[in-house]
Symmetry: C2
Subunit: 459 residues, 2 copies
C-alpha cells in the first residue's frame, strides 16, 4: 500500500523500452495518479505511454491530464488516433475537450466519429455554459419499472463498462420520462423477483437542463447524492451530474466569488493563474480599477471642498487614512459575512431587517472601542501639529473619535445592506464587496468626518 507520491521513472522505462513495466504501472494506479506522473513528460512521450494501453484506459488517463497538455496533445494527434481517444472518453469530458479545440480541428474530427457519438456531442454541447445541461453526462443507467431486481442487476453489470456510475439507476417510462430512482444498494437488498416499480423512489431530487449549475451542485451537496438526474421541460431524462462534477462546480464558483469580491472580472476555470495570459489578467482587472479610481475622484473632490478646514487644522489630514481604512475594513467584514450567508442560502435578499439588526448590535461596541483608540491617538500624539490657538487637543480628539464612531456604524450597515440590495436587483451580491465598498465608504466617511469636525469645532 502506498500513496501515489513516489513517482516511478516512466521516462527511464520508456528509454529502456520496458513496455511491460509501463503498462503495469499505468493499469494498477488510479488514472488521475497516472496523469500526474505524465505531467513531467513531453507530449510525444505521453503519447508513447498512452499507445501502450487499452483504448478505454488510454482515454480515461487522457481525460485526467492537465487541460493545457490535453489540448496540446489532441492537436498533435492524427485524426484517427484522436477520434479513438474521444470515442472512449466519458460523454461530458469529451465535450469539454472539443469545446477547447480550434474550430478546424473540430470540423475535421467530427466526421471521423460514429454517428451516435457525434449526435451525443452535439446535444451536450448545445446547452449554454453555466447550466446543469452543460455539465451533465449521458453515460447513465436506466431501468424499466417492470424489470425485476435480478434482471436489473444483470443489466447494470452488462452496461457497467460504459457508464459513469451504476450505483444509481433511473427508471423511465416508454417516453423516457423520469418516473423513479433506485440505488444498486436497494437492488441488491431486494429479493431477486421484486419488480423495480415496487422498490423505486418516486419522490426524486432532480435538476432541469436550464437550471444554474450551482443550484444542481447544491442539491448534490444537500442530499448527499452520488449523482443527480437532469430532465428537460417534458420531464424526459437527458443526463446526470455526478458528485465529482459537483465538487468542481463548487470550487469554480468559489474562485469566481472570491475574485469578484476583490473586483476582478471574467469567468474561467480554476487553477489556471499562471497559465492565463498577461493581457487577460490585465483586462479582467482594469475595468473595476478604472471605475473605482473614478469614484476615488469624488473623494478627492470632497477633500478639495474642505481645503480651508485642512489648511486651518492640518492635524485633521493625518486622521484621514485611519478613518478611511477603518471604514473600509468594518464594511468589508460585514459585506463578506452577508455575501457568504447569501451564497449558502442561509439568508435571502428579503432578510434586510434581521441583518441590519444583527449588524447594528455588532457595530456599536466596535465603534466605541475604535473611537476610544482614535481619541487616545489625538490626545497623545498630535502635539506637534499646527492648529489655531483657542482649540484644545480634547476638542480635536472628540471630533475625530465621534466621526470615526459614526463612520464604523454607517460603514458596517452599508456593508450589510449593499450586497442585499444588489441581490435584490439581480446582481451578484459580491459586486459591491471589498474594493467597491471601500471606495464608497471613503466618500461617506470623508463627508461624515469633515461635517462632524466643523460641527464639533464650531466653525
Amino acid at each position: 500500500m502506498k500513496n501515489p507520491h513516489s513517482t516511478p521513472d516512466l521516462r527511464g522505462l520508456l528509454a529502456k523500452n520496458d513496455t511491460k513495466k509501463v503498462r503495469e504501472i499505468c493499469s494498477s494506479s488510479h488514472p488521475g495518479a497516472v496523469a500526474e506522473m505524465l505531467r513531467t513528460l513531453s507530449p510525444d512521450e505521453v503519447w508513447s505511454v498512452l499507445t501502450l494501453l487499452k483504448p478505454r484506459l488510454r482515454s480515461e488517463i487522457f481525460g485526467n491530464l492537465d487541460e493545457s497538455l490535453e489540448v496540446e496533445l489532441a492537436k498533435s494527434l492524427k485524426r484517427h488516433d484522436l477520434a479513438e481517444v474521444i470515442t472512449y472518453m466519458s460523454a461530458d469530458e469529451r465535450v469539454d475537450l472539443l469545446k477547447r479545440l480550434p474550430e478546424d480541428t473540430q470540423e475535421t474530427l467530427l466526421p471521423a466519429l460514429a454517428q451516435a457519438e457525434r449526435e451525443d456531442i452535439r446535444r451536450l454541447a448545445s446547452y449554454p455554459e453555466g447550466t446543469a445541461g452543460s455539465v451533465m453526462t449521458s453515460d447513465y443507467c436506466t431501468l424499466s419499472p417492470d424489470d425485476i431486481a435480478a434482471e436489473a442487476i444483470e443489466k447494470l453489470r452488462r452496461e457497467a463498462p460504459d457508464k459513469e456510475t451504476i450505483y444509481y439507476s433511473y427508471v423511465i417510462d416508454a417516453n423516457r420520462r423520469l418516473i423513479g430512482f433506485v440505488s444498486l444498494r436497494e437492488l441488491i437488498l431486494a429479493s431477486p423477483q421484486t419488480r423495480v416499480e415496487q422498490i423505486m423512489h418516486r419522490d426524486i431530487i432532480f435538476a432541469t437542463v436550464d437550471e444554474d449549475q450551482e443550484e444542481a451542485a447544491r442539491k448534490i451537496d444537500k442530499y448527499d447524492l452520488i449523482a443527480l438526474p437532469v430532465v428537460n421541460g417534458n420531464n424526459v431524462l437527458v443526463g446526470i451530474i455526478t458528485h465529482d462534477d459537483a465538487i468542481d462546480i463548487i470550487r469554480q464558483e468559489q474562485t469566481e466569488d472570491m475574485e469578484m469580491l476583490m473586483a476582478i472580472g471574467g469567468t474561467h476555470e480554476t487553477g489556471v493563474y499562471l497559465r492565463t495570459p498577461v493581457w487577460v489578467h490585465f483586462k479582467n482587472r482594469l475595468g473595476w480599477l478604472v471605475v473605482l479610481a473614478l469614484l476615488g475622484l469624488v473623494s478627492g473632490y470632497i477633500v478639495q471642498n474642505f481645503e480651508n478646514l485642512i489648511l486651518q487644522f492640518a492635524v485633521l489630514a493625518s486622521f484621514m487614512p485611519m478613518l478611511a481604512d477603518t471604514g473600509g475594513n468594518t464594511g468589508s467584514q460585514s459585506a463578506t459575512l452577508v455575501i457568504r450567508a447569501l451564497a449558502l442560502r442561509e439568508i435571502t435578499n428579503r432578510d434586510v431587517l434581521r441583518v441590519v439588526w444583527k449588524e447594528l448590535r455588532v457595530a456599536i461596541p466596535l465603534a466605541i472601542v475604535l473611537a476610544g483608540l482614535a481619541y487616545g491617538r489625538a490626545l497623545f500624539f498630535s502635539g506637534s501639529s499646527s492648529m489655531p490657538s483657542g482649540f484644545s487637543l480634547e476638542t480635536i480628539g472628540l471630533a475625530v473619535s465621534l466621526a470615526l464612531g459614526i463612520q464604523v456604524v454607517t460603514a458596517t450597515l452599508m456593508g450589510a445592506v449593499l450586497p442585499l440590495a444588489a441581490a435584490r436587483m439581480k446582481f451578484d451580491p459580491a459586486v459591491v464587496a471589498s474594493p467597491a465598498l471601500t471606495t464608497i465608504v471613503d466618500i461617506t466617511g470623508l463627508l461624515i468626518y469633515f461635517t462632524t469636525a466643523r460641527y464639533v469645532l464650531g466653525i
Copy 2:
C-alpha cells in the same frame, strides 16, 4: 415526479392525527427533504413526527435537521429516547452531535449506550478538530483477500443497512492493515468465483488520521472518489471519509478562507451567520480592526510629517484617497489571485519569481492607464485649489501620476509577495489579504506620494 418544494402540511396532518399519511410522506421522501419540512415545526411537533417512524429512518432524519434544532431536540429528549436515536445515527454524525451537547447531557447519556457504540464514539471523538480522523466514520465495509466475489457481494448485502457506503470495500489482512481496495462495480463485473485478491487495487489512495481534513477532501476531489480510507500510523484501517463529507469540508474551508481574507477571525461551521451570537461576531471582528487601526496611525504619522508640504500644496491632500484606494485595490487583486492559486495547489510558496514576473507584466500597463487618469484629473479639475505661484498644474499632474504609477506597481507586487512570504513562514496566506494589505500599502503609498511630490516639485 416532483421536486421536494411543495411542502406537505405536516402540522395539519398531526392535528388531524393522520399518522398513516405522515408516515408515508416521511418514508417516501429523502431524509434531507423531510428534515427541511420539519423546519417550521416546534421541537415537540418534530418529535411527534419522528416517533411515528422506524428507528433507523428516525435517526437518519434527525441527523439531517438543522444543527440548532438537533441540539435543542436532543436536550429535551428522555435519556432512553436520545440513546436510541444516537444508536441508529451514522458514526460520524453522532460524534458531531455529542460534541455539541452540554457536558452533563453527555455524561448521563454515554452509560445508556451499548458498549460498542460508546467505544466507537470515544475513539472517533479523540482526534483533534481539523484532522482526517475527526471527520471520518467507522461505518465501512471490509473484505478479506481470500473472499470470492460471490461471497463478498453477499457479505456487503448483509451489512448494507449499517454501512455508510457499500460501493467501496476495503481489503484488510489479519491485523486490519489496509492492503487493497475494490469497488462493488468490480465485484459485480468479476466472475463469481474470482478471489478478491485477484481484482483488488493495491495502489490505494488513502489519508492518515492526523492529516489535514482539507488534504483528505482534496484527494476525494482529485481522484473522483466516493470514499477515502483513513489509516493510522501502522497502516491499520480506522475509518473512511465519504464524498459528501468532502463537500462539507470544502465549503467550510472556503468560508474560513473568505473571512480571513476580510480580516475576520475564528473558525466555525458554515451557514450560521444569523445564529452566531452578537458578541462572538464582535470578538471575531475586533482583533484585526484594532491591529489595522493601530497600523493606520502610522499612515497618520507620515501625513503629519509632511504637514508643511500639504499646507503649501493643499491640492495634494485631495489625491490622497484615490492613491490609497487604488493601491489597496490593485494589491488586493493580486493577493486574491495568489492566495487562491496557493489554496488550489497551482503554485507553491517557492514560486516567488514566476509570480513576480507575471504580476510585474500585469502591473505596468495597469500603472500606465491609471497614472494617465490621475494626470487628467490633476490638469482639469484642480484649478480651484490653492498652491504657491510658480508651479503649474502640469507639474502637479506629473507628481501625482508618477506617484500613482509607482504605487500601483509596488502595491501589486506586495500583494503577490506577502501571501507567499506568509505561506513560507507557515502562516495562512490569507492573513495578509485585503484589509491588512490595504493598510500596509497605504503606508508605503503615502511615503511614495510625498517623496515623489517633493522631488518633482523640487522642494
